[in-house]
């Protein structure tokens, strides 16, 4: 067996150290990895853990390295926990800044220098959005998104006017619970409350089932609670992820009593806050909200009291005024009626006086007119008769004279006619009358030759004999 040349182990580790130093000294790397085998030494503020890389489908470890954080790195982790609400622990996916070194005793050393909060926040936010999405999808009847808000069965519940009987879900020793209790019990208005505490561990994601069990206990108790208050204990630990779980979100959204939260989250709301009736920032705020709510009711009652006092005084005033108005109206109307009637009676009197005088006057005038007519007409009529008589008399005188004159003319006519016709007047005009045997001859045929005739003429008679006779026809 040959004896090979050897070196001291320290010489080897020194060479390794030299190589590592040459390769990594002064360099840092941002590495994405999962945390496992985590342990924390609080007194020294040392974090020991492994960083591993797993296959995408989740099974085998591809790479693994031990890491440590202390000093600056430990402070960064603390800041990370504050900022994200995510506890640095196993199975979290992180982006860390590391340096690589080699130690003679401890070997390869990866030291955590910084941890990217934003990377983890982004991851948590993605998880939270996934939970919310699933809640919306699984329970469309219970949860709806309206704008930026989530409307749930719970936050659609009406708060009773006074919140006096309260079930509180909290961890027994948390500072938050003390704050809540103190605030309620020492309220400045002297309000009393009936509070049942349902203690649980309100830390760590895996405790969601415990919290849910408390809610179920409250529901099964059938006590007439006005509201359920969920407060987180606060303290050093900062793990809110419990309140982003699907399990609690679903339970709160469906819970039949109004849920008031006071989880103590400084940055953004948890899923439970979103599903709850009334989210507040802290347990103290939750207590203050309840006191304010009750005070609001009391103020409303006091306002009603004030209104009733004022209104009843107004009512009295209105009635007194209405009575006065009625009284005045009745008095005025009564006086008006009397006045109207007085006028009417007076008018009636005046009218009757005037009309009766007028009637008498009218009658007098008519009588005067008739008297005048009657006195004037007879004189006229008598005068007319007188004229008629005179006319008659004159007519008669005239006509009588006319009659007599006419008769005289007629008689005169006969006088003239007969004077002319008398034989004496005929003889005077040279005519003669021939007589034969005392017969007046009027024609030749009465005479013969030899007849003796007597001729009568004016102044006497002569006797003659016809010697010759000659006839003619008268057309001489």
């Amino acid at each position: 067996m040959l004896s090979a040349p050897s070196i001291k182990l320290s010489a080897l580790t020194a060479r390794i150290q030299q190589v590592m130093k040459d390769a990594f000294a002064g360099q840092t790397f941002w590495v994405v990895a999962d945390v496992t085998n985590y342990s924390f030494y609080q007194q020294k503020q040392y974090h020991y853990f492994d960083l591993v890389e797993k296959e995408a489908n989740g099974g085998a470890v591809v790479a693994k390295v031990s890491a440590v954080a202390w000093g600056e790195g430990a402070l960064r982790i603390q800041a990370f926990e504050q900022a994200t609400g995510q506890v640095f622990k196993n199975d979290i996916h992180v982006l860390v800044k590391v340096s690589v070194s080699y130690h003679h005793v401890y070997g390869l050393q990866i030291t955590l220098l910084d941890i990217d909060t934003n990377f983890t926040i982004g991851l948590l936010e993605q998880q939270k959005q996934a939970v919310l999405k699933k809640l919306l999808e699984d329970m469309p009847g219970v949860i709806q998104k309206v704008g930026d808000r989530y409307e749930t069965l719970n936050n659609r519940l009406d708060l009773p006017p006074v919140i006096q009987r309260i079930a509180v879900v909290t961890s027994m020793n948390s500072a938050g619970y003390q704050d809540f209790r103190h605030t309620l019990e020492h309220n400045p208005f002297g309000f009393t409350f009936d509070i049942d505490y349902h203690f649980t561990v309100v830390q760590g994601e895996t405790k969601a089932e415990l919290v849910l069990q408390r809610l179920i206990d409250i529901f099964l108790s059938k006590k007439p609670y006005d509201a359920v208050v969920m407060i987180r204990g606060g303290g050093a630990q900062t793990d809110f992820l419990l309140f982003d779980t699907y399990l609690l979100g679903k339970a709160v959204a469906k819970f039949p009593l109004p849920v008031i939260t006071g989880i103590g989250h400084q940055k953004n709301e948890t899923v439970v806050d979103m599903m709850a009736h009334t989210p507040t920032k802290t347990p103290t705020k939750a207590a203050e909200f309840i006191i304010a709510h009750n005070r609001k009711f009391e103020v409303a009652v006091q306002t009603l009291q004030k209104n009733i006092v004022v209104r009843s005084q107004q009512l009295f005033h209105a009635h007194f005024q209405a009575l006065t108005t009625l009284q005045n109206s009745i008095n005025a109307s009564a006086q008006a009626i009397i006045s109207i009637h007085k006028d009417a009676v007076y008018d009636s009197k005046q009218w009757i006086v005037q009309q009766s005088r007028e009637r008498l006057h009218q009658q007098k005038q008519q009588l005067t007119q008739i008297t005048h007519d009657i006195t004037r007409s007879p004189a006229q009529q008598l005068l007319e008769q007188k004229h008629l008589l005179k006319e008659l008399q004159m007519n008669m005188a005239f006509k009588s004279k006319t009659v007599l004159q006419q008769q005289q003319l007629a008689v005169q006519h006969y006088n003239t006619v007969f004077k002319l016709l008398s034989p004496e007047n005929t003889l005077k005009r040279g005519f003669a009358i021939i007589q034969k045997n005392d017969q007046i001859i009027t024609g030749m045929q009465q005479l013969n030759e030899g007849d003796t005739i007597r001729i009568q003429m004016q102044g006497g008679k002569a006797t003659a004999t016809i010697t010759q006779k000659q006839s003619y026809d008268g057309h001489q």
């Binding site: 005179k390 008399q393 005188a397 009588s400 004279k401 007599l404 008769q407 005289q408 007629a410 008689v411 006969y414 006088n415 006619v417 007969f418 004077k419 016709l421 008398s422 034989p423 004496e424 009358i433 007046i440």
Partner: protein, 70 residues
């Protein structure tokens, strides 16, 4: 000739008859004279009567007018 009991009316009628007779020449010269004589008597009667009536009527009228003026 007789004109007693004669009225003016009758006398005037007779005069008209005589005139008619003479106009018809049925009166012989023998009676003509007689007729004319009768006519003359009738005319005188009528004229008398007329004159008397005139006087009487005028008197009445005068009387009337006199009375009226009273």
């Amino acid at each position: 000739m007789d004109t007693n009991n004669l009225t003016y009316e009758a006398a005037f009628e007779e005069l008209k008859e005589i005139e008619a007779d003479i106009a018809n020449e049925t009166v012989s010269v023998d009676v003509l004279a007689e007729k004319v004589k009768r006519a003359a008597a009738l005319i005188q009667f009528c004229q008398s009567k007329l004159r008397a009536t005139e006087v009487e009527v005028n008197n009445i009228i005068k009387q009337m007018e006199k009375t009226k003026k009273d």
